[in-house]
């Protein structure tokens, strides 16, 4: 498989507090993303999983250069896009698309659905409005918003949540991107329609040999779409590996806790017990050593308090823990 994306030691620090606090010394550094590295092949889906404050959404935005990294490198199809100027970046934009959690906020309420889908083709000089309209109609059909000519004229308010997310996907897919970053695309969709949205994304992935980064808090959703899972905690990847392997035998205690916390209807499920302590720390006050140590149910070793574990790889799996769980 060929590589599409390489992320190297990506960091994003925010400075919190305004001008006044900078004089009075009240500012603090929030390390939202604190050294994230991974590779993504063509046609591959990686799920970034974690709780709020884990840095998963910030990582997604950094990759598409929607926000500027503090340091680190992003290689897209071999091109270093980290320091790229807006003009050059614009040429690459059609190849990398993002969809967001809230389909209500992603569509212009005044623009018809069809026009919203056709627009990127015109904006990027790929087609005239006439051609774009034809392609948008095909795309509406493709995402199940039929009859297409009827949906073309509708406004976002006339669509249900699930239908809007289909329109948002159509708009992102009309450019046939190489990379899609999907940030919690189904968390606001009703359960009965959730998997139909995931299925649609998987179909486009296959059709375009598209790579996908799926940002989600829900391991069960990650399992349905991802080839690999990266579990994030306080700005770092703590575990990464093939989906089924990570879920069947987690090596990081935090991954195990996420699995233990996932609800199931299966009465006989052999779930690990939820032994994790407390809540995720404030990213402005990251604990010393292993950032998970205050919540870790296993370790009381000095090493975990003092020394930060780096991700070490073995057999295609990576884990950042001094004392990883045995399989």
């Amino acid at each position: 498989m060929t590589l599409l994306l390489e992320v190297e030691d990506l960091k994003k620090y925010f400075i919190e507090g305004g001008f006044l606090s900078s004089i009075l010394g009240g500012t603090r550094i929030v390390k939202a993303v604190d050294g994230v590295s991974f590779k993504l092949s063509r046609g591959e889906t990686l799920a970034l999983v974690g709780e709020s404050g884990s840095g998963k959404t910030t990582t997604g935005r950094l990759i598409l250069r929607l926000i500027e990294p503090t340091s680190g490198r992003i290689l897209f199809d071999g091109i270093d896009i980290t320091g790229m100027k807006p003009g050059e970046l614009r040429k690459l934009r059609p190849r990398m698309q993002m969809i967001f959690q809230d389909p209500y906020a992603s569509l212009n309420p005044r623009m018809s659905i069809g026009k919203a889908i056709a627009e990127p083709l015109v904006v990027h000089g790929r087609a005239t409005w006439g051609e774009a309209r034809r392609e948008a109609l095909e795309m509406l059909e493709r995402v199940g918003l039929t009859p297409a000519s009827d949906f073309y004229e509708r406004k976002p308010i006339q669509l249900s949540g699930g239908q809007r997310q289909r329109a948002v996907i159509a708009r992102a897919m009309i450019l046939k991107p190489d990379l899609l970053v999907a940030d919690e695309p189904v968390s606001m969709i009703d359960v009965s329609m959730r998997t139909s949205i995931l299925k649609l994304l998987l179909e486009f992935r296959r059709e375009y040999n598209m790579s996908m980064i799926m940002i989600t808090h829900d391991l069960a959703v990650a399992r349905l779409v991802a080839d690999r899972i990266a579990v994030m905690y306080l700005g770092k990847i703590v575990e990464i590996g093939p989906t089924e392997e990570v879920l069947n035998s987690p090596r990081h205690p935090y991954t195990e806790a996420l699995i233990a916390a996932a609800p199931t209807i299966v009465r006989s499920a052999r779930k690990p017990r939820l032994r994790i302590k407390g809540e995720i720390a404030d990213p402005g006050r990251i604990p010393s050593g292993c950032r998970f140590h205050p919540r870790c149910p296993y370790s009381d070793s000095k090493r975990c308090v003092e020394e930060e574990p780096e991700v070490t790889y073995y057999d295609g799996r990576g884990v950042a823990c001094h004392y990883p769980l045995s399989p």
Partner: protein
């Protein structure tokens, strides 16, 4: 302890009345946990909130009865309902920030709840009770002087729960209490509620869109679709042998780490309640539909301590 009989709730809208809850029947025993499961617009919150008299206008109970501990709640005045809320029925909402005042300490807020119900003779006594309630939900008593913003989302929800249980209500109604929280925090809050249910012998009504979450904590489960309770029964039976095709499909469509991977989803969209389908409301999306479903509304049937509204069963 609680019996809801033939309850109908309408919302007056500009385009005419909309029936948000249609002919609902429920009962909850002392100390029992009932979860009401449904998707957005199913009427689950409207139904639950009507019990303690928290229905927001333009919502209105048009017929039916709610009997709680021998009292007919639909006939009580606003003042009488206010007295029952807090002391006999505790309520927890989705977003803890809507229930907490950002400008007052958490201790003062819980103490006020106690004093409003004349459950303590002095502020000092009320604060002592508040401290005990905070401890019961896992918040150290020295945080009694904290303001809501000094706490995390999960801790705030614990404070709301402390405030809801401080007067030892017989029933706790929780409307999506963990939807705004992370999964691990959610699991911990559920553990806490389960623990309190047992320790205080309190009944619980949990409103949730997550059938797996409901399956893990409840004794009984009611499933709602398009303003109707389509199925109700002991949770183990409902989950392992659903009688209604909607329940069956909802289980199948819910991603679950411990079941086989499937990309199944329920076809179509939930109906517009102003113009619900004829016959059974689920029939346009049902995988077991037959002629009768399109014409005739199913009646509520009792089968071995369970209820279901579906023509498949007679």
């Amino acid at each position: 302890m609680l019996e809801v009989k033939g309850l109908n709730i309408d919302y007056m809208t500009l385009r005419g009345p909309l029936r948000a809850v249609k002919d609902a029947w429920l009962s909850v025993d002392r100390g029992e946990w009932l979860s009401i499961v449904g998707e957005s617009g199913s009427g689950k919150s409207t139904l639950a909130m009507s019990i303690p008299g928290l229905l927001m206008p333009p919502g209105r109970i048009t017929s039916g009865s709610i009997v709680f501990d021998g009292k007919e709640l639909t006939r009580l005045s606003r003042e009488e309902l206010r007295r029952i809320r807090g002391s006999e029925i505790g309520v927890v909402f989705q977003d803890p920030l809507t229930s907490l005042d950002p400008l007052r300490t958490i201790g003062d807020q819980i103490a006020e709840e106690i004093l409003e119900h004349d459950a303590a003779s002095s502020k000092r006594e009320a604060l002592e009770m508040a401290a005990e309630a905070l401890e019961a939900v896992g918040i150290p008593r020295n945080r009694i002087k904290y303001y809501p913003h000094q706490l995390s989302g999960g801790q705030r929800q614990r404070v709301v729960i402390a405030s809801a249980i401080v007067l030892r209500p017989k029933l706790l109604i929780a409307d999506e209490p963990t939807t705004a929280l992370d999964v691990i925090v959610q699991a911990k809050i559920m553990e806490l509620m389960k623990d309190l249910q047992k320790k205080l012998g309190m009944a619980v009504i949990l409103i949730t869109h997550d059938i797996a979450l409901a399956a893990e904590v409840s004794d009984r489960m009611a499933v709602m679709y398009a303003a109707e309770i389509v199925e109700e029964g002991p949770v183990d039976e409902v989950v392992s042998r659903p009688l209604h095709p909607y329940t069956e499909a909802l289980i199948k469509a819910t991603p679950d780490l411990w079941r086989e991977k499937t990309l199944y989803s329920i076809p179509g969209n939930p109906p517009d309640l102003r113009n619900p389908p004829r016959g059974c409301r689920f029939h346009p999306r049902c995988h077991r539909v037959f002629d009768r479903c399109r014409l005739e509304e199913p009646r509520r049937l009792r089968i071995n301590g369970r209820t279901v509204s579906c023509h498949l069963h007679g």
